[in-house]
């Protein structure tokens, strides 16, 4: 596994408590920024909704369930945990998650090459 972090967009492209989508090596990546009190969390997951079968996850609502952050699919409302990719409402599906961080105003992802 390569340790390379790729610049994807600037931190000003992110929207508080919401998602955006970036195209990285032809992969659609949904990026979420969640603000909780003073803390900020950056998450990157695949934009592909495995249940709705469309590239829409970045347009879902974010929230928390028992203090874990999730995005709810805008199509059929299944919730996916942003840290693990597990689906709260359906054990049989999972979405890919990517390590993400902000360095020098740059949103960076680590993608297995």
């Amino acid at each position: 596994m390569s340790e390379n972090w790729i610049n994807v967009c600037t931190s000003s492209d992110l929207v508080d408590n919401s998602g955006i989508c970036a195209l990285v090596n032809d992969e659609q990546i949904a990026l979420f920024k969640i603000c909780q009190g003073e803390e900020q969390f950056i998450y990157a997951v695949s934009n592909w909704d495995p249940i709705g079968k469309a590239n829409v996850l970045y347009r879902g609502l974010v929230g928390s369930i028992m203090d874990e952050h999730f995005v709810a699919s805008p199509l059929y409302k299944q919730r996916f945990k942003l840290s693990s990719g597990e689906c709260v409402d359906d054990d049989s599906v999972k979405i890919t998650v990517y390590p993400a961080r902000i360095t020098d105003q740059q949103v960076q992802l680590q993608i297995v090459s």
Partner: protein
């Protein structure tokens, strides 16, 4: 007649409420016992129509149509496999050959015959009682005659001051006649109410402008001097009137049975046993024509019980008729009257407690047994709030509290000693119209029902007269609590409050953002449940732009992108076409835009045009063009007013009586943009033919010759509900006022995602309560509700217009922050000359993914992505 040889032939004479109930019961019980309908059922109705709701007959005068009163229809009977004939009066029974003959000569053979011939109104033998404007009050045809007579009369008299008589008097008063009630007895409602109660009732009714004459025996009806007729009383007094309505009691319709040798009681009525069997082992009698234990039951609930007993006997069951409780609670001309059990304290050793408040016109009496430990009767006039509790004490023989008078004394501050639902035994009858006991409610909860609406739909409880609504709710709530279903209305884990509570917090605390609401009253970061709910509440109260920074991340995806997401992640666009009226020029623009962006077009059920297949980044471009042409957003994406459907109305239609299109456009423009707990649909019909289907809408308006009838809380879709008639013959100003109030009250009090129909089903007090709040302003909220609506109206903005002109908002409409490319997975193919999303298999084929193709798609035309 051809009948199936394997089936038992049942012929039912009479298709009133009880006769119809028998049909339903027999089929239901047969299905339960045999797993199918084992009977060939023939219904013979002497009236020109099938069964209708006689209990609510007076509503015919407040605008209900014969159709709305009907309990069944030809189609329904056909579906059930029931043969029927209307205008089919039976005039012969041949008990030996087991067949009946109707007036036309047609013959029907039976194995079992059911007489459900009901009763007829008693007309006292007064000379002159057979003149043209001397009428009775029982059938829809009678009401039509009354209605016609009222139109050419100024004064009307009802002979008979009983329950039906007072209802008839109300009808005459509503029709604008100077109304009198003439009663032979010294008091009104002598059967149900004692002397003192009768006096209070009389005072209250006279306050309403109806003159009551008691102890009057009419001797003759002669030609009048100032009016059409003159009634001459035994005491020499006279009363001039244009029409007379006899409502002096009912007599069992037993003529047929009498003529063909079935045993009749001394004073009439077909004698029946506990199975409702007559003296002939194959003939049953049920309802008001039947005499059980020397008693005729003139209420619908005992009739229903008889129908059940007779059906049970036929299928070999063990339900019997053992008499019935004749307690009643009703509202006559707005005056509440209740009567329970031994109202006149006639039982041996009976004692009473009485409370009277002459100022407010309230009279209450309870009757207790000689042992002073059980309640045996009660009379309530002017306030029936204690009725449910008292009835349960009486029916279930519950021990009286230490101070029985506390049951009827007014409470000051302290809660009145109401009988908790827990104190009721499982056999307690909750809904006597549909014979639902507390045990039945428990059984339906065990069977999976989990709220009031579901219990109502599976037991039918509270769907008859509705008098038990409050009791049903308390029993349901208490049972739910018992099984650990905390009747918890918390909206989600972030807020320990119901939507209604949150609404109040936002309004009273002047809370303007979700973050503020969360930090003051919630925890965590919110979720997909509370965020849109809060966004809706904030919008209903403050009506700020939904895509403004503090609100935008709360919205469901459709609200965020101001369009409706479809299965492949593209959106559909619906511009507003108020009332469904559109100019040719605008129609052309829609076509041009659709063509330019290659959108699939379809006409919606709400009379507008939906453009499908827009990618997220195309939405602002499409809307720039639509706005340029004068369109504005249609809110198809929002929980808010969708459309006001209309028929073409009096402008063009030969039958229209008002301008329904103009009204629909005005209403749509007034309420567009109102964010509400769920979507709202309206319709306006220009006449009673109802082409706009207004009675299936949240708000339905139907034109009358005098104005507009307002219907509320209807629904089509998954769980259809006929809208309730709310008010009649309104002018436009009053119509708008009522709609303002109904909608704002809904916005304030409904649960999240609760349509108006379910809201109404769950409302304690139901339609009457809503009318009280809106029409009589019983909560004093009217002005505030209107003001709030006016604020929403005044702060309306086209969200798309604001969105396309805001740099910040437009930034959200892009698929990728770092690329101008489009989503490569969105692929369309052509079908019937338009695009449609490619199926999964087609996408794989097109993208060249090697997967086994299950069904080969024929001639796929890939549509170029721009």
């Amino acid at each position: 007649m051809t009948t199936n040889e394997h089936l038992t032939r049942i012929v039912i004479v009479g298709n009133g409420m009880v006769g119809h109930h028998f049909v339903e019961q027999l089929i239901q019980q047969s299905n339960e016992v045999y797993g199918k309908n084992q009977f060939h059922i023939t219904v013979l109705s002497a009236e020109p129509r099938l069964a209708y709701d006689r209990v609510h007959l007076s509503e015919y005068f407040s605008g209900k149509t014969a159709d709305e009163l009907s309990l069944t229809s030809a189609e329904h009977y056909q579906e059930l496999g029931v043969d029927f004939q209307v205008n089919a009066r039976v005039d012969q029974i041949d008990k030996q050959a087991k067949m009946v003959t109707i007036e036309s000569g047609a013959v029907f053979e039976y194995d079992k015959l059911i007489l459900a011939t009901g009763s007829f109104p008693f007309v006292p033998p007064i000379p002159g009682n057979d003149q043209p404007h001397c009428l009775v009050y029982r059938t829809i045809e009678d009401l039509e005659a009354i209605s016609a007579s009222a139109k050419v009369s100024k004064v009307g008299v009802v002979v008979g001051g009983g329950l039906l008589g007072l209802e008839a008097a109300n009808a005459l008063k509503e029709a604008g006649l100077k109304t009198h009630v003439v009663e032979f007895a010294p008091q009104l409602m002598a059967v149900q109410v004692d002397v003192s109660g009768g006096r209070v009732l009389k005072d209250k009714i006279e306050e309403l402008g109806v003159e009551v004459h008691t102890q009057k025996a009419t001797q003759s009806i002669e030609a009048g001097e100032n009016s059409r007729y003159k009634m001459v009383f035994a005491d020499g007094e006279i009363l001039e009137t244009d029409m007379i309505l006899f409502s002096a009691g009912i007599r069992p319709q037993d003529k047929l049975a009498r003529e063909f040798g079935i045993v009749i009681g001394e004073r009439g009525g077909i004698v029946v046993n506990d199975h409702c069997l007559t003296s002939d082992p194959d003939i049953y009698a049920i309802g008001e024509c039947a005499l059980w234990n020397n008693f005729i039951f003139g209420l619908v609930a005992p009739g229903y019980t008889m129908a059940r007993a007779a059906a049970s006997n036929i299928v070999g069951g063990d339900v019997v008729f053992e008499g019935a409780d004749m307690s009643t609670k009703l509202k006559l001309m707005g005056v509440e009257v209740g009567s329970i059990g031994d109202a006149h304290a006639r039982e041996h050793g009976a004692q009473t407690y009485t409370y009277e408040d002459q100022v407010a016109g309230v009279y209450k009496k309870i009757v207790i047994n000689a042992e002073t430990n059980k309640l045996t009767g009660a009379v309530l006039v002017g306030d029936t709030g204690d009725y449910d509790t008292l009835l349960q004490y009486a029916l279930n023989e519950i021990d009286l509290p230490e101070f029985p008078e506390s049951l009827i004394l007014p409470s000051f501050g302290d809660a009145a000693p109401t009988l908790g639902a827990d104190a009721l035994p499982e056999t307690a009858m909750i809904c006597s119209c549909h014979n639902v006991t507390k045990g039945d409610i428990i059984a339906s909860l065990d069977g999976g029902a989990c709220d009031l609406a579901e219990i109502k739909s599976c037991t039918k409880a509270s769907t008859g007269c509705g008098g038990c609504a409050a009791l049903l709710k308390s029993v349901t709530d208490s049972e739910l609590e018992k099984r650990g279903v905390e009747v918890k209305k918390d909206i989600c884990e972030h807020f320990a409050y119901s939507r209604q509570e949150l609404y109040h917090m936002v309004q009273i605390g002047q809370i303007k953002t979700f973050d503020e609401l969360l930090s003051k009253h919630g925890s965590g970061i919110g979720c997909e449940v509370c965020k849109p709910a809060a966004a809706s509440i904030l919008a209903s109260i403050w009506n700020d732009f939904v895509l403004e920074k503090p609100h935008v991340t709360l919205q469901d995806t459709n609200d965020t992108y101001l369009a409706n997401m479809q299965k492949n992640g593209t959106y559909s666009v619906v511009p507003r076409i108020a009332g469904g009226e559109i100019t040719p020029d605008k129609l052309i623009v829609l076509g041009q835009v659709a063509k330019k962006y290659n959108l699939y077009t379809k006409v919606t059920g709400g009379q507008r045009i939906d453009l499908f297949g827009a990618r997220v980044e195309q939405l602002p471009l499409i809307w720039e063009e639509l706005i340029e042409a004068g369109f504005e957003t249609g809110h198809a994406y929002a929980k808010s007013l969708r459309t006001v459907k209309s028929c073409v109305g009096s402008t063009w239609c030969r039958y229209g009586v008002q301008d329904s299109v103009g009204q629909a456009i005005d209403l749509e423009n007034r309420y567009k943009g109102l964010r509400s707990p769920h979507k709202l649909k309206f319709a306006v019909s220009g006449c009673t033919r109802e082409c706009a289907e207004a009675q299936s809408k949240d708000i339905g308006v139907i034109a009358t010759e005098n104005g507009w009838n307002l219907y509320v809380c209807g629904n089509g879709g998954m769980k259809p509900r006929h809208a309730d008639l709310f008010a009649t013959d309104l002018d436009t100003e009053t119509l708008v006022k009522y709609i303002d109030r109904v909608l704002m009250f809904y916005v304030r009090t409904a649960d999240r995602l609760q349509r108006t129909s379910v809201w109404m089903e769950n409302m304690e007090g139901g339609l009457d309560y809503l009318k009280d709040v809106v029409i009589n302003d019983s909560l004093g909220l009217g002005a505030e509700l209107e003001q709030q609506m006016q604020h929403v109206v005044d702060t309306y903005q086209c969200e798309w217009k604001t969105a396309v002109t805001s740099e910040q908002s437009r930034k959200r409409f892009r698929q990728f922050v770092n690329s101008e490319k489009s989503d490569a997975n969105i692929i369309f193919v052509e079908e019937r000359d338009q695009i449609r999303p490619a199926t999964e298999i087609e996408i794989d084929q097109i993208l060249g993914v090697k997967k086994p193709v299950k069904a080969a798609a024929t001639s796929i035309n890939i549509v170029e992505v721009e």
